[in-house]
Amino acid sequence: MAESESSLVAAAEPSLKSLRQWQRLSPIALLYFTVNLFRVIFGNVAYLAPTIILLYQGMKNQPLLSLAILLGIALVLLTGALLSYYMYKFRVIGDTVEIRSGVIKKKQLNLPFSRIQNVRLLQPLYYRLTNHVCLQLDTAGSNQQEAKLVALQQHLAQQLQQEIHALHQTTNAAEVTEDNAEANTPVKADEQLLNQRSIGDLVIHGISNNRVWLMLGLAAPFLNLITKVVTDQLEKLGLDLMQWFDPEQQSWLWIGMAALALTLMVMFLLTLISIGASVLSYYGFTLVRSGERYIRRCGLLTRHEVSMKLARLQWVALKQDWLDRLLGRCNVRFEQINAPMNSMQPGAEQGKIMVPSVQQQEAFQLLADAQPGQQLTTTPFQHVNWRFLARQLLLLWLPIAIASQWLLRPDHPELATLGLLPLAWLAAMVLLRWRRWGYAMDQEFIYIRKGLIGIDYYSAPVFKVQQVKLKQNWLLRRAGLCHIQLVFASGALDVPFIPKQHGQLMLNYCLHQAQSSGKSWM
């Protein structure tokens, strides 16, 4: 194996040598920077929305001026992209990647291969023609350590990736060599297929993980405008929508039916969009295991490949919301180090691997492969104390109930009575939330269960804990309870309202495991 590695590295030498000098990226990166800037700006449209609405009126009054301003903004953006491009230089020298970047705040990053946790190749659509990729290097620890080589020739990028992996392999002889010949082939010889998603699964994922609702909420301020445009268009087609809903001309039954039909149609459209997005980002999803590494490949336009060393896995989460529950599916998430803000990648935010909408059986299989010793399915869960319920009801439910009844009862008694319905629903949700909260621990793992209608499960090996916290206020102290928090590299897991001696014991045990196991968390 050692021989094949050295020959691999040797083969990579000649062309990688060309990266030893400080150099700019290929000009195609300009596109990337521009797209990125636009994405940063329009990705934050949610925050900008109120401003835009405020400005909208002004823009209508002063079309020329606003056009000039918009052009000005576009110009600034383009200049920004150009400057970013010119300031960005990199080289690969020895076993270190060095990047100089930054327009106003200059940065120099020195990244030794040994510190790199994860290498990802990303190919946006506009890189396909010139065969470039964006190479993303993830590291542990602080945010500043994340590096991107924005535009590299694909073969160079693959060689670099190989070299980085090879270095890790020489330090860890047990690992199997990996063949990175072609990112697009579904499964290679030494890879074991763990899971793949069919179009049908992705359609289900689109339905159950509908994020379009959020967009609809954002569009609410413009609803008036949209309605006007739509009705105008329909009128041109000879359809008078207003007439349908006019109680003078139509019966109430008809109006009800029309409203229902319209709602259904809108929902149908939204679901279609969501399905489209799901297929777009997860098309051809495969999760394979290559030695001690998980590799996920998917994407219709931009094909993403994410690989994760199993040793780096912090916890596995099985996540299910109410629609998932209805459809009998759940999302399996393999979470590793919380690498700070990467570009929004479907299913791979922050280097995590998500397997969309799998059936329960598949979920447990995946879990068993990733964490052989866990007993999530057989472990009995303990409930958190009923005082959890008391807090939620006292601090959330009661104020809402009193306020709504007090405001509505005198003037609209029937509305107040009707309001009891959502109140009852809310109380039921609180009750459900309490029933769902559960925790369990065995020699190796801590398990947490939570959720409302759907259920989320977390399974984390306790020796990987980074830090532990115990919290108590005087009410909890009197009741002999506490909250605990276990911090992992992938985030924090909380267990509230548990008996003090349980909490203490769990923390003592986790600390002991972390300190005495001698195993690395990554």
Binding site: S142, D442, Q467, N473, V487, W521, M522
Partner: protein, 180 residues
């Protein structure tokens, strides 16, 4: 409630090192004093600002705004005072503890919180000293783990020599060195 879930742990539970029996060390008394002073001076400054705004001779404030500034200002001052008093009472609760393999810090008057950081999991360590801390010879020890910035472990108000020896202890620790 029973502890049946834990019965299959391999180690005798009662013999695990217990986070309840830590040997808590107080912070420097200077820290409490300076904290109180900073809080009070801050409150005073805040009060001075709104009072100056109200009583300056340069321009007149509309009669609608005047009571508003007065009320909001008084409210802010009161909040500042309350904050100072709370700080005065809460600061003595802050303490740190060192064991062979971890550091702990506890804080909070009403909501008591204790954080324990295994030394093995420490990524890097920083001594932070602001201008005021430098003048009175104090330092803040910051410890970073892979848990992320949100969970940075911090001990404020340490005498510089203590902070330095703590840092030395952690850096020299075999766990840190093996971790590489």
């Amino acid at each position: 409630m029973d502890t049946s879930t834990f019965s299959n742990l391999s180690i005798d539970e009662t013999r695990l090192p217990d986070i309840e029996q830590l040997d808590w060390q107080p912070l420097s008394p200077k820290y409490m004093l300076i904290n109180l002073r900073i809080n009070l001076i801050g409150t005073l400054l805040l009060t001075a600002i709104w009072a100056a705004l109200l009583f300056q001779p340069f321009w007149t404030i509309s009669p609608h705004l005047e009571p508003l500034i007065l009320w909001i200002g008084t409210g802010l001052t009161l909040l500042g005072l309350l904050f100072s008093v709370h700080g005065r009472c809460a600061d003595p609760c802050k303490a740190y503890a060192l064991r062979e393999h971890d550091v702990s810090f506890q804080s909070g008057l009403f909501f008591r919180k204790s954080v324990t950081q295994p030394i093995l999991r420490i990524q890097h360590i920083e001594l932070k000293r602001g201008p005021i801390e430098r003048r009175i010879g104090l330092a803040t020890l910051q410890v970073f783990s892979a848990g992320g910035v949100m969970h940075t472990f911090e001990i404020p108000g340490l005498p510089l020599s203590t902070a330095k020896s703590l840092r030395q202890f952690i850096l020299q620790h075999k766990d840190t060195r093996n971790h590489g």
